[in-house]
Each structure stands twice: as structure tokens, then as C-alpha cells.
Amino acid sequence: MSGLQDLKKNLFGGTTTVGRQFGMIFTLVAIVLLFEVLTDGLTLTSGNLIAVVSQYSYILILAIGMLMVIVAGHIDLSVGSVAAFVGIVVAKSIAHFGIPWPLGIVLGLVVGALIGAWQGFWVAYVGVPAFIVTLAGMLLFRGGNQFIGNADTVPVPEGFRTIGAGYLPEVGPATGYNNLTLLLGLIGCLAVAWREWQSRKTRQEMGAAPAPLWISGLRLAVMVGVIVFATLRFAGGRVGTSLPVSGIILIGLVLIYSFYTRNTVSGRRIYAVGGNARAAELSGVKLQRVNFFVMCNMGILAALAGMIFVARSAASGPQDGLSWELDAIAAVFIGGAAVSGGLGTVSGSIVGGLVMALLNNGLQLMGVGVDLVQMIKGLVLLLAVAIDVYNKSQGRFSIIDSLTRPFRRAEVPAAVPAADAPRQNDKTPAAS
């Protein structure tokens, strides 16, 4: 293998799925650099990065839930309405019934879970297509929001606002940076190093040669570099700002759900159901449970996103969450999920969401009007999925693959795979 293939293959862990993310991240970096140039360096300023995170974290949270729904082969059109509904319920409860705000958050999550269970019931146990169930939900909960809120805005108290507009406190010595963000960055670097070491160990235990050391080193250096850069940016903004609390919630969720979907038995079942429901069923997977779970989980995440948004804008209003479902769905598909289910990753969706967010943000910084931004976003979505579909029809996989295709030409080994070799020597009676 040439060094370049080695690099591509190993930079993100070596398996095909992970290799695909290479292209995704490549796209993201290209967009960042493009706008960095086009906006004369405004994109990567501390202030802007912090704004992007707090402005889009709730969409990205929705994208996580949406990814699971889409992988299972469904869709959820109601998330924006559900978010708005939960937002108004929580805001009202706090404002009118004097519920303490932490309890308000719990209440919000419970309401989200109930709504999710309601929709999950119809989808999983009655068998109504999710498209219909959530279309109904979209109307139902949008109306519910206006019914409860009388189409008014309801403000939320200071404490509650932390989850949407809060920052990490300033503690410790005056370094000129937000110390807690620095600490997080340090933990991030250590975690990345630990993971790299773990993955080398795992490959060794599998009996596969781990990536050459220089590749591990390079991969680590790139990741640590990115983390250090981001840490300094987020920690070095205006005094009193840091990595937003909503961003920390998001990171936590991404880690948890990535692990869940990739590494757990029940997470895998979602892919099995989306990939071939009948085969999954005949392998002992309980379809109804999986379908119920993804819808229910979506409800909870929509509730969380709704509350973060309300906290950020300090009040709940009738226009909250309008067309969020579209942003979340777009993020998932740009992130490489298959329309027919069974394919997609949490991290891919997050990168997809970030592509959309940075596109939006960059265009706004350039002073492009909302109308044009919408049109461009629409075209990007169409193009991304079109490339994906085209590639699949060619027997290749995904947008991302196509971006890295020039690298893989020479990957074809001359000989036929190894499992054949022992063919001659065993139980089969051989005479000649």
C-alpha cells in the first residue's frame, strides 16, 4: 500500500464506514476555509464560532434523534412542533404555577417522552406510517402550542436560560482564557490520545496489524491540533463567554449516542430494522420495540431542543421551532444517511448539520439575504443527496467515497482473497 492510501484508510480508524467520514470532514474543512477567505477571517473568530454553536446546537440535537428515526426507516416531521409545544408547556408551568426551573426541565423531558410514546404507539403498534403520524403530530402540537400559549410569548426565568444562553463560569487564575473551557480541551486531547491507543490495542487483539506508528501519530496530531485550536477560540472570546452550555450538552449527547448506535446491541438493532425489517425479525429483533423506541427517543430530544431554544431566546413563542424538522432531516441526509433506512452515523449527521450551519453563517456574514441563503441551502441538500444516489447506482457508496475516490484506485490486490488458500488441503477428498 502506498503512503497515501495508508493515510486515507487509517486516518479515521480504517473501516469503510469510518473512512467515509474522512470525506465528510474534508467537505466541512473546505467550507470553513472557503468562508474564512470570503469573509476576510470573520468565520473563525471566537465570537462567531460561539454564536454558531449556540445558534445551531438545538438543530444538531434534533439531528441525532432524526438520524436514528431515519436509520430505522421512518421520518419525523413533527419535531419542530413538538419542541414548540414542550417549550410553551415548560415556560407556562414555570411562569404560572411557580415550578422551580430544574423541575421544569424534567417536566419538559417527560412531556417529550409522552409525545414520543404517543407517536411511537401509532407507528410501531398500529402500523401507521411515521410520515402520516408525524404530519398529524406537526399540526396537533403546533396547534397545541398556540392553544396553551394563546399565541403569546411567555418568558422564562434567569436560571432556566443557562441551558440555552449560558456559559461556563470564570474560575481560577486569570489566564486571559476561560479556564473551564481550557480544562475541557485538555480532557478532549487526553481522551483522543487514549482512544488512539485503545484502537491500536484492539486491532492488535484482532490479529490485524495496527496502523503504522507514523499514521497514528499524524492522526493524533491532526485531532489534537483541531481540539487545541477550537479550545483556544472558544476560551478566548469576550470575557464571560466560553464554550456555550448548549454546546457542552450537544457534545455529551453526541458521545453517548455515537457509542450507543455503534457499540451496543440495541443500537445495532436500529440498523438491522432499517436495513431489512423481515430479516431482523427472523433474527429475533422485536420490530415494534425498536420502532417505538426511536420515536419515543425523538420526542425526548425534540423536547430538549425546544427547551434550549426557549432558554436562548428567553421566552417561548408561537413561532418557535418553525421548519426545524427540515433542517434536521437535511443534516442527516447530507451526513450520508440513506433515504431508505439502514445507513447513517451520528457523527456523519453532526458534520452534515455543521455543513449547513456554517453555510448559513458564512452566507449571512457575507451579507447574503435570507432568501438567497434558503435557495443555496436547498440546492446543497439536493446536490449532496443526488451525488449519493448516483454513486450508489454505480455500486459505490456515498458522497464521501466519491470525494476520496482518486485515492483508492490502486487498492486492488492482484491476487484473490486469502480465505481460499487452504482449499486444497483438507476434508474434501482429493484424488488428482
Binding site: 451496543t264 445495532r268 440498523y271 425479525e281 427472523l282 491476487a415 487452504p422 476434508k427 474434501t428
Partner: protein, 516 residues
């Protein structure tokens, strides 16, 4: 029988065809010469590249995707897609049938090729022509019947009728008889001979070597993506053993491994099992009684549609139809098998006959597929141990000789036979006590069949019970210690190995009378 003209002009020549997929060289400098008006067979082990070669020929992999040259009717052909090859008269019927289950026979035959008057589809003409075409392939059905309501054998004939709706010169059939029973297969082969008299050339891929021997004029053998030889059936005195030698590169003295069964006592028993069709009132299984001993291989013989698959699937967690009654006993105690997970917990495994539709998630990679029926075995507290998973998959890759560069590959990239091995591995991994194999060697080459028989014996030796459903009587006779015959949902008899012969089984498979 009219003999093909030995000096017939060359219809098709494929020269030095090379086709690579990422990680695999599927074809390396393959040559194929097909004369006009002959039946040309292509043989080779699973993954030898047969389907790939035909996909190159029919434009599925367009010009530029492969290297080498295709000369068709004397000129170089560069097909950009399937349509282009169809226009040239080359029609391929793929290994996987491409009919739309919810559409009628007529609609399927003329899909994308509808006769029209102006802009509107002319259904009258379509119906009439559908009837003509169906007559051509010897099929009597109402053309309005939905595809999903007719059997696989008939579906295969519809595929051929569909090919004839186009102007076909060269008909390619990729394992057309894999899913057919003997009489349906015979009918299909007769059809090919008919076509030969009409000057239509056919290329047929099959693992049923007896059919190849019976019908082919020339045989080209592929191994590991290379052309090994082309045999002239008449001139070279070809028989099955000769073909096998070409395919595997050595002689195989026997089709079944040597094995002395060591049979214990009855541990699995089904009593009075009755199942109704999911929609209609028809009973697909009527008061079935059967038993399996430890270490025993039990066969189920029957014609297509006799209800063997239905019986197996309804036992396996009521995955088919409506259960009307009956009991299952394991080790003397009654067990309940209401869901698939209950069945798996009680040590049942069902390897489906239709691996693509219901056996595998084609989006998955090999290792995930192998652990899919019992992921808990490689997990701690619900978290998958990647190392354990990889090792488990790797050990099956070696044991079953799954042909793949790595267990991280997607199952969709495997050849048909290797996919079957993955399904088998998946259920072996679930550690069953009773393994039900539904057509386990469908579409599998001789060498791999032999291996699978060996695996079945090994499972039996470990004291497991194995139930084999198969439409190939020689397979059942060679493999099983005891064979039940099924006719229209009723178990009509039971034959032990020593007394099993095709005539006797056939008789029991086609009568309602209970004989045992």
C-alpha cells in the same frame, strides 16, 4: 433433437475481460466464445466471476468499467447500459428475479416496454401479447394474476416471457433453476432447447451440473476470475465429474463426505401442528407430527408449495401464517415458541431459503451479519466487544471458507454462494440445538456443497438435530438419516435412509395417502 451447427458463425466473443472491484479482482483476462444457435454453459465455483462476466456483457457494468473487448455479431460492442445491450438483442435474466410482486403478469412483462396507442398504454394489446408470450414459455395463468400470488417456478418463466417481449437474440440466464423443483427445471430446459431450434442462442449459468450436462453444447469453466477451459460436450465426452474437475482443479470422488451417524434419542417433537395461510382460509400445515433425534439429520421432501417452508417458519416463532394448534416438546417438556426470540432461546435456528429477502441485511458487513442472531454472545452488558466479534466472524470465515478479503466487507459484495455461507455462519453462531436449513445449498457450487454437508454432519456429531428442507432428492438421500415427505401441507410418510430411493419419495410426495 436438432444438433447445433458445428461450423456456426461466432456470435459473441469476449476477449481479455478484466474487471476489478475495490479489493477484489473479479475477472482477470477472461475469454469467452459463443457460437450462434448454441446453448453455452458457464460453470465455476461461487465467486468465480460468472455473474460478473454476464453483467459486463449486458452493460450492467458499462463500457469503460472493465478492460478488454466484446465482439458481438462481428463488430465491437460498447454497451453504455442495459438498454443498449437489449437493443442489440442481448437479454439477461439475473440471479435475483427482478419482478414487481404487487403488479400483474402483464404489467411485469411489459414494464418499461409497454405497447402504446399514442400516449396511452394499450392494455388490450398488452394482454393479448402477454398471453402469446406465456404460451411460448408454456405457462397457463390469468395475465391479471399478481406476481406475488404465483410460485417461483412460474415467476422464472415470466422472466423469460419478459425477455421475449423484447427482440432477443442472445438470452442469458443466471442460475435460472436454482429455485425451481425438478419438473419446473425440466420444463425450462426444454424451453431452451426449443429456442435453439429457433436460432436463439442462450448462455446459462448453473450449479446443477446434471442439467448442464444434459442441455449444454459448450461449457466454459471459470475459476478465480480466469477462464480455465471451454469444453465441447459432444466431442469431449463431458460428464459431471469432468466439469467438477475443471471447476475445482482436481477430481472429487464423492459428492457426500463419509460419515457414520451417531443417533441418540428423540429430543424434539412436534405434535398436531396446524397452520393457516395468513390471508386465505387454506391450511398450509395440517396436523403435522414429526420428531428429531439428537445427532440426526432429518430431511423434508416435497414439491414446491407443499408447505415445508411454512411449517418451518411457523415453528420458528410463528413467523408465518396463523397458528391454529399443536404442541412442541423439547427434551420431553412442552415449550412455547410464540416469538422468534423465544425460539432462539429454546435453541432453534432457521436458515431461510431466501437469503436476500429475509436472511440477510444487505447493508451490513460480514461480521455484523454473523453475530446478528445472538449479539449478546459477543457483548458485555449490551456493549459489543469488537475484538470478540471480529474473532468470532474470523473463525467462521475460515471454517466455512467465506471468500472475502476481510470480515469488514459488506455482505452485498459477496457472491451468492458466499452470502449463503454467511447466513449459515450466523445461525451456527447462535448455538442452536435444532437447526432448520431451508434449501441450504441453493445456488452453491459443488465444492461448497460438500463443505456444507460436512458442516451439517459436524453439527449432528455434536449432538444437535438438523432438519434439511430440500427440493433436490439426491441431496436428501445422500445427506439425511430419515426423510419425511410432505404433500399439500400433510406429512404423508417417513422413510429411513436405507429405504430411501427417488421413486418411493416421489410417490409419497405426490399423494395424500399416508403410507407410514
Amino acid at each position: 433433437m436438432p444438433m447445433p451447427d458445428r461450423d456456426a458463425p461466432v456470435l459473441l466473443e469476449m476477449r481479455d475481460i478484466t474487471k476489478t472491484f475495490p479489493g477484489v479482482k473479479a475477472l482477470a483476462d477472461v475469454n469467452l466464445v459463443v457460437n450462434e444457435g448454441e446453448i453455452h454453459a458457464i460453470c465455476g465455483e461461487n465467486g468465480a466471476g460468472k455473474s460478473t462476466l454476464m453483467k459486463v456483457l449486458s452493460g450492467v457494468y458499462p463500457y469503460g468499467d472493465y478492460s478488454g473487448e466484446i465482439r458481438y455479431r462481428g463488430v465491437e460492442a460498447r454497451f453504455a447500459d442495459i438498454r443498449a445491450s437489449e437493443n442489440a438483442g442481448i437479454v439477461i435474466i439475473h440471479q435475483e428475479l427482478a419482478l414487481i410482486p404487487g403488479m400483474s403478469i402483464t404489467e411485469n412483462i411489459f414494464l418499461g416496454n409497454e405497447p402504446r396507442t399514442g400516449l396511452a398504454i394499450d392494455w388490450k394489446t398488452a394482454q393479448r401479447r402477454a398471453l402469446e408470450l406465456m404460451k411460448l414459455v408454456g405457462l397457463k395463468e390469468d395475465p391479471d394474476t399478481l406476481i406475488k400470488d404465483i410460485g417461483v417456478g412460474k415467476q422464472q418463466l415470466i422472466e423469460i416471457a419478459k425477455a421475449f417481449a423484447k427482440d432477443v437474440k442472445l438470452l442469458i440466464l443466471d442460475e435460472p433453476t436454482a429455485a425451481l423443483n425438478e419438473s419446473d427445471s425440466r420444463q425450462l430446459l426444454d424451453l431452451l432447447r426449443d429456442f435453439r431450434t429457433q436460432g436463439i442462442t442462450s448462455i446459462i449459468i448453473s450449479h446443477k451440473l446434471n442439467e448442464i450436462e444434459a442441455v449444454a453444447d459448450q461449457i466454459t469453466i471459470l475459476r478465480d476470475g480466469k477462464t480455465i477451459e471451454t469444453l465441447d460436450v459432444l466431442a469431449d465426452g463431458v460428464n459431471e465429474d469432468r466439469i467438477v474437475r475443471g471447476m475445482v482443479g482436481r477430481d472429487m470422488s464423492s459428492r457426500f463426505p463419509d460419515y457414520t451417524p451417531n443417533i441418540g434419542e428423540v429430543f424434539f417433537e412436534v405434535r398436531d401442528w396446524t397452520v393457516r395461510h395468513p390471508i386465505t382460509d387454506r391450511l398450509v400445515t395440517k396436523h403435522a407430527n414429526f420428531s428429531v433425534r439428537r445427532g440426526e439429520v432429518v430431511g423434508f421432501a416435497g414439491l414446491m408449495g407443499a408447505g415445508r417452508t411454512e411449517l418451518a417458519m411457523s415453528l420458528f416463532g410463528r413467523s408465518y401464517g396463523t397458528w391454529l394448534g399443536g404442541q412442541v416438546f423439547k427434551d420431553g417438556r412442552e415449550i412455547r415458541l410464540r416469538t422468534v426470540s423465544e425460539a432462539i432461546e429454546h435453541g432453534l435456528a432457521y436458515v431461510s431459503e431466501d437469503r436476500k429477502a429475509i436472511g440477510l441485511n444487505l447493508l451490513d458487513d460480514i461480521k455484523t451479519s454473523i453475530v446478528a442472531a445472538k449479539p449478546a454472545k459477543v457483548a458485555h452488558h449490551g456493549v459489543i466487544d469488537e475484538v470478540a466479534e471480529h474473532q468470532a466472524a474470523e473463525s467462521y470465515r475460515q471454517e466455512l471458507r467465506i471468500k472475502t478479503p476481510s470480515v469488514d466487507e459488506g455482505v452485498s459484495k459477496l457472491s451468492g454462494g458466499n452470502q449463503q455461507k454467511v447466513v449459515l455462519a450466523k445461525w451456527m453462531f447462535s448455538d442452536p440445538d435444532l437447526l432448520i436449513l431451508d434449501e441450504p445449498t441453493r445456488g452453491i457450487d459443488v465444492g461448497a456443497k460438500f463443505e456444507i454437508y460436512g458442516i451439517i454432519h459436524k453439527l449432528a456429531e455434536e449432538g444437535k438435530g438438523v432438519v434439511v428442507i430440500s427440493s433436490e432428492l439426491p441431496e436428501l438421500i445422500g445427506l439425511c438419516d430419515r426423510i419425511y415427505t410432505v404433500f399439500e401441507g400433510t406429512i404423508t410418510g417417513e422413510v429411513v435412509r436405507a429405504e430411501a430411493d427417488p421413486e418411493r419419495l416421489m410417490k409419497q410426495m405426490t399423494t395424500t395417502k399416508k403410507t407410514a
